[in-house]
């Protein structure tokens, strides 16, 4: 006799093990899901279900949002948007103590809105900001720590790739998720800026004062980001207020990005081909993972594990707060050795039904999940962002970057605690748009 719950738990452990053995994430999710379905239902049903899920995924209109937002990002890169947001923020803040580090946080938030990815944000902004901070006499560990932390803003800043993937898996409104992310992103950036200000007040040598730019220079610098900032505002704003659906917003964003590319006189066949090639390559990678995750998610729902866990949580009479704290701890531990996307796709089918049982909002949960996932980008031993910075600045040791991150990590924990204690931080804005 096969107990579905036991098969579910075993499958979860096997999946975790094969993921750690470097099996491609999409293939691992799909295979474990298919073998599980074959065991619990029948091999024939598993094959047919997988075939149906695969074609539905590549032909679903709502999922078209992902490649189109990626194309919009690539077109903005092609338009030369990479270092512009940092350069503008540096003109406004560079004369303050720690001002360039604060500017790097602003640069990460701005660039994150284009890229929707933590790793792309940290790689791009650090390539511009780190040499500048070092020239200005900033302590390397502190500068790198600020950038690694700031890079995490890319995961949550709308239009965020992680939120789109969560919206697809959890079948939640991507527009509401984007709206819900805005206040957490702004407060997170403000927390980082406060940490920088505090650190530089306590130890002024960390981030020396730079030269002050004139107002004429500041206003002139704004011209470099106005068009792209206006496009992002239009796309995300239009989506939140209901002018268009997420897929339409992404399509309109792509058209806008093409116009910006042309206006900046960078519209060349080579630039367009590179943008399309990069988009298709990354999209293909993510779609295989999404197909695998949907097959795995179907299998998880068949096992009944989530109902069992929800029942346990209910029977234990645990308060929603306590349950969420336990979830956060589990996610932080798993985030120590799994990358963000794998963590999200593995845990969403398991945790989302529990969230429903606890009466919590799935939109809030999406923000909480991505926020927790972001912390995994900077905390040891994985801390992808740290290695991205280290790859670009070999003379700064990994250890000194991790030490530089500690104050930002502490602020992350406080911010996460506030998000758990006051879900309204995420739910206020989507509530207004209703």
């Amino acid at each position: 006799m096969i107990y579905p719950e036991i098969v579910g738990v075993l499958a979860f452990l096997i999946l975790l093990a094969i993921l750690l053995l470097r099996v491609p994430i999409g293939a691992a999710l799909a295979l474990v899901g298919m073998v599980g379905l074959a065991l619990l239902i029948s091999p024939e049903a598993a094959l047919i279900k997988s075939g149906v899920i695969a074609f539905d995924t590549v032909s679903r209109y709502e999922l078209g949002v992902l490649p189109l937002f990626m194309l919009m990002a690539q077109l903005c890169f092609a338009a030369g948007a990479s270092g512009d947001f940092f350069a503008v923020a540096a003109k406004f803040l560079g004369h303050r103590r720690g001002g360039l580090a604060m500017a790097s946080i602003g640069g990460c938030a701005g660039f994150g809105a284009i890229s929707g990815s933590s790793l792309a944000t940290v790689a791009t902004v650090s390539a511009v900001a780190l040499p500048e901070m070092r020239r200005a006499g900033y302590r390397p560990g502190f500068a790198a720590g600020a950038l690694a932390a700031g890079g995490t803003l890319g995961s949550l800043t709308p239009p965020s790739g992680a939120l789109i993937v969560y919206g697809i898996i959890a079948e939640q409104s991507i527009g509401k998720l984007f709206g819900a992310a805005i206040v957490p992103v702004v407060t997170q950036a403000l927390f980082y800026i406060a940490v920088i200000a505090l650190m530089c007040r306590l130890r002024p040598e960390l981030g020396p004062v730079g030269p002050r730019a004139t107002w004429r220079e500041r206003i002139a610098s704004l011209r470099h980001v106005l068009d792209i900032a206006a496009l992002i505002l239009f796309v995300v704003g239009g989506l939140i207020v209901g002018w268009f659906t997420p897929t339409e917003a992404a399509s309109v964003g792509c058209v806008g990005a093409l116009i910006i590319l042309a206006l900046r006189r960078r519209f060349t066949p080579a630039a367009l081909a590179t943008a399309l090639y990069e988009t298709l390559k990354t999209t293909g990678m993510i779609y295989l993972i999404v197909i695998g995750a949907l097959i795995f998610s179907t299998f998880v729902s068949v096992t009944g594990v989530t109902e069992h866990l929800s029942g346990l949580v209910h029977a234990a009479g645990a308060s929603p707060m306590l349950a969420v704290i336990v979830m956060a701890l589990v996610l932080l531990v798993l985030g120590s050795f799994l990358d963000g996307l794998a963590l999200m796709l593995l845990m969403t089918p398991i945790l989302l039904p529990i969230v429903g049982t606890l009466g919590l909002s799935p939109i809030w949960f999406g923000i909480f999940l991505v926020r927790t996932m972001e912390i995994g980008f900077v905390h040891p031993p994985l801390g992808f962002n740290v290695y991205v910075i280290h790859a670009g600045a070999r003379d700064i040791s990994v250890g000194s970057i991790f030490r530089g991150i500690v104050p930002f990590l502490l602020s992350d924990f406080v911010h996460l605690a506030l998000l758990i204690a006051f879900p309204v931080i995420a739910l206020w804005l989507p509530g207004l748009a209703r």
Binding site: I18, L19, L20, R22, V23, P24, I25, G26, A27, A28, A30, L31, M34, A46, L47, S50, G51, V52, A54, F55, T57, V58, S59, R60, Y61, G64, P67, L68, L71, F77, A78, G80, T247, E248, S251, V252, C254, V255, R266, A270, A271, A273, T274, L276, Y277, T279, L280, K281, T282, T283, G284, M285, Y287, L288, I291, G292, F337, L338, L341, L382
Partner: protein, 160 residues
């Protein structure tokens, strides 16, 4: 200099074909949807825009998955594998190839099964009556090519 100032890498004929087809699908999907938004706000209707988008998406995304496979871009967790001995790493690389091959083969068989089941029904979209057979075959072809590439990569890995 950013990467967009550089010439893109010169792809082989298969990759070039996929890039052209996939890009065409993606750009057509984008244009259709943007036109539908414009039409809705200006006052004309683009009938069946969603269906056109869906068919373009099948072409673009099937090509994208194959491009990611050919470019060896499928994501994996690197934490543990990077710290093992070269022999163990090679073993894991083979295991990864086997898993990728198995995943594409099973997805291909499942898709072929569904396509065969639906073939006699002459499945079409509702509004524009676009036949879906060709698109299902395109997806199936992408799965098959990805499986073939994974098999070749596995053989190379074993022989290395």
């Amino acid at each position: 200099m950013d990467i967009h100032d550089q010439q893109p890498p010169r792809p082989g004929p298969v990759l070039r074909f996929l890039l052209i087809v996939g890009s065409g699908g993606l750009l057509l999907a984008m244009a259709t949807d943007a036109l539908a938004v414009l039409g809705r706000h200006v006052g004309f209707a683009v009938n069946g825009a969603i269906e056109i988008f869906q068919m373009c998406a099948v072409v673009a995304l099937s090509s994208a998955i194959l491009i990611a496979t050919l470019a060896e871009r499928h994501a994996a967790v690197d934490l543990l594998a990077g710290r093992l001995s070269p022999g163990t790493q090679r073993g894991l690389a083979i295991a990864g190839r086997v898993a990728a091959l198995a995943a594409f083969v099973v997805l291909g068989i499942g898709s072929a099964w569904v396509t065969a089941d639906l073939w006699p029904t002459s499945e079409m979209t509702e509004q524009l009556a676009i036949p879906l057979r060709g698109f299902r075959l395109f997806w199936l072809a992408a799965c098959t090519c990805a499986a073939i590439h994974s098999a070749i990569a596995l053989i190379r890995e074993v022989r290395r």
